[in-house]
Amino acid sequence: MTTLQVMFFFFSLITVAGGLYTVIARNLFHAALGLIVSLAGVAALYALLEASFLAAAQVAIYIGAIAILIIFAVMLTRGVTGKNPVKDWWTYTITAIVCLLLLVVLLTTLFRFDWPQTAQAAVPADSIARLGKSLVDPSLYVLPFEVASVLLVAALIGSAYIARDKK
């Protein structure tokens, strides 16, 4: 067991535990905090995978923007969140069993393949510049890149229209 593996276990534990707390917690604000812990754990996993930019982006965007949006929504729609946030225990158990089955299916599929034990190559030193170049490279991702901006504008217009006070 190397240090890297210990770190991996630690961060996966944080990620999964945070996720579990998110789906179980009765208090929605606590659930959102659990989500933040889980997201931070994922960021740490990215760091372990040497995807430094995505690790920071995970913290900056998921925790710094999306989680804040979710907390705002939790606060704005409170008053109802205290009551019965989960279904009755019957549905609860059934759902849990279904999810476990799904997990079993995923894992059995996963173990059918012979995944590499170690990485094929080292991460290039200029990986961020490479990412930037490939985003605006006409033969690579320039179309999804521009479409993403349109998607963002559409999302903003749509959600601002929906959320706005219409008096």
Binding site: A47, F72, R78, I128, G132, L152
Partner: protein
């Protein structure tokens, strides 16, 4: 690279410890004589009624929304900025187009009065 992140992990622990340490010190030193009046909510002279949950304006959400749209673009903007000196003019124009489209979002929010604090 991983070593640097290890340092940041250690620093995270140290920073947390430096935050907890004064609290522990204070916990050992400070007096603790709570009473119901003292630990009641500090709002005004009369007793608080209801919980803290008055309804808040949606305006806050709309601000957060515009922020998310502009914050999310950093995930494209920063790699592009790092690669900027190695890019052909065409690639720079693509980012300019990207920025213009996002500026369209700003113009929309502005025109519709979403940026007014009411």
């Amino acid at each position: 690279m991983l070593q640097d992140f290890a340092f940041i992990g250690i620093f995270l622990l140290v920073a947390g410890a430096l935050g907890v340490l004064p609290l522990v010190l204070a916990w050992m030193v400070r007096p603790a004589k709570p009473n119901p009046i003292k630990s009641s909510t500090y709002e005004c002279g009369v007793e608080t009624f209801g919980d803290a949950w008055v309804q808040f304006k949606v305006q806050y959400y709309v601000y957060a929304l515009v922020f998310v749209v502009f914050d999310i673009e950093t995930i494209f903007l920063f790699p592009w900025a790092v690669a900027y000196h190695q890019l052909p003019l065409f690639a720079v124009l693509e980012m300019v187009l990207f920025i213009f489209i996002l500026a369209g979002a700003l113009v929309y929010a502005w025109r519709k009065g979403d940026l007014e604090w009411v």
